[in-house]
Point group: C2
Chain length 208, copies 2
Amino acid sequence: MEEHITARIPARVIDRLPLYVRVLSQISGSERQVVTSSELGDRLVIHPAQIRKDLSYFGHFGRQGHGYDARELLQALVWVLGLDRQWRMALVGVGQLGRAILGYQGFVPEGFWIVEAFDLVARRVGRRIGELTVKDARRLEEALSQNPVDVGIVAVPAQETPGVIAQLATCGVEAVLNYSPAAIHAPPGAHVRSMDPVLVLQSMTFLT
Amino acid sequence: MEEHITARIPARVIDRLPLYVRVLSQISGSERQVVTSSELGDRLVIHPAQIRKDLSYFGHFGRQGHGYDARELLQALVWVLGLDRQWRMALVGVGQLGRAILGYQGFVPEGFWIVEAFDLVARRVGRRIGELTVKDARRLEEALSQNPVDVGIVAVPAQETPGVIAQLATCGVEAVLNYSPAAIHAPPGAHVRSMDPVLVLQSMTFLT
């Protein structure tokens, strides 16, 4: 069933679902139960018609003019996005950026755990960072066959990035979050998303 | 005229424009001149009809069945996005994440320069990082009145973030790139975009 849903929902809609989850979590924690698309739209700066269209992919949650049951909608989106489970992640690259990623406070509360750390640079291998010991990235496949992960985070220099992503794909890691400024073509079967501050800046400078 | 354009173009369209610029730069550097929406769509994994609709906001670049003049289209988008100029940025927060941002190789080639660095932590003030000396964030307004910037980059702990963004807005900084996991309401007149790895991960885990 999930495959069926994936096939017909545009990527732009999927991108917005986590935003809905975040706002609905805030609302359903309070005593209120019903939320309208206008209210969601105000909070997220998304047009209410867009919100109704996005949510219509997931069945008939709202009744015209009555709004949505916030808790019911939240539970459904959490299930659809797989947020009711824990996701295991491997970080490749423990330079300055990689160590900042290891220190990021936002992952664990949302169910994302970094359980392995690797580097290509020999002098970093064997170092202890928090509860992790940095392993040799050339032995990635061996390590991940014993301790599989769902997600790879890549924070290596641009020129190393395609090789590392290919290696992760070989290990069956289907989702990769790329922090390097390299332009990436995802290997078959893998999803690569880049944290690219320049694209964000370029879309903002237009507005100033 | 730019204000007029801003008012009627959906934010989602603006978000895609830098992607078009990136691909067109690659194409127009080669000998080829004409590019079709199908070709752009293949490279960007965006539906060609969406691309034609997006580009129609900016006048009549393509002729039906003939594709776009890559160089002409690139020049127009560069002008619209203001990418033909240099953007001056101030970084607030030079902890581990802030130092990783200072070391990021992707900003300068795209015309984004970090020209000031601030921190709230006393022991970091006065430190030299590359060509910058870290200044006291409590004297942000004084420093930015002498050395104005277009963009603020915020890499302070979540609880400090709203205060720092408000301070930047007071100094007339209209575009802020936020790296903290804090949920932000932009002050009036300011545009705040967050680099939020969790939102990216959540939209990807759905696909795996």
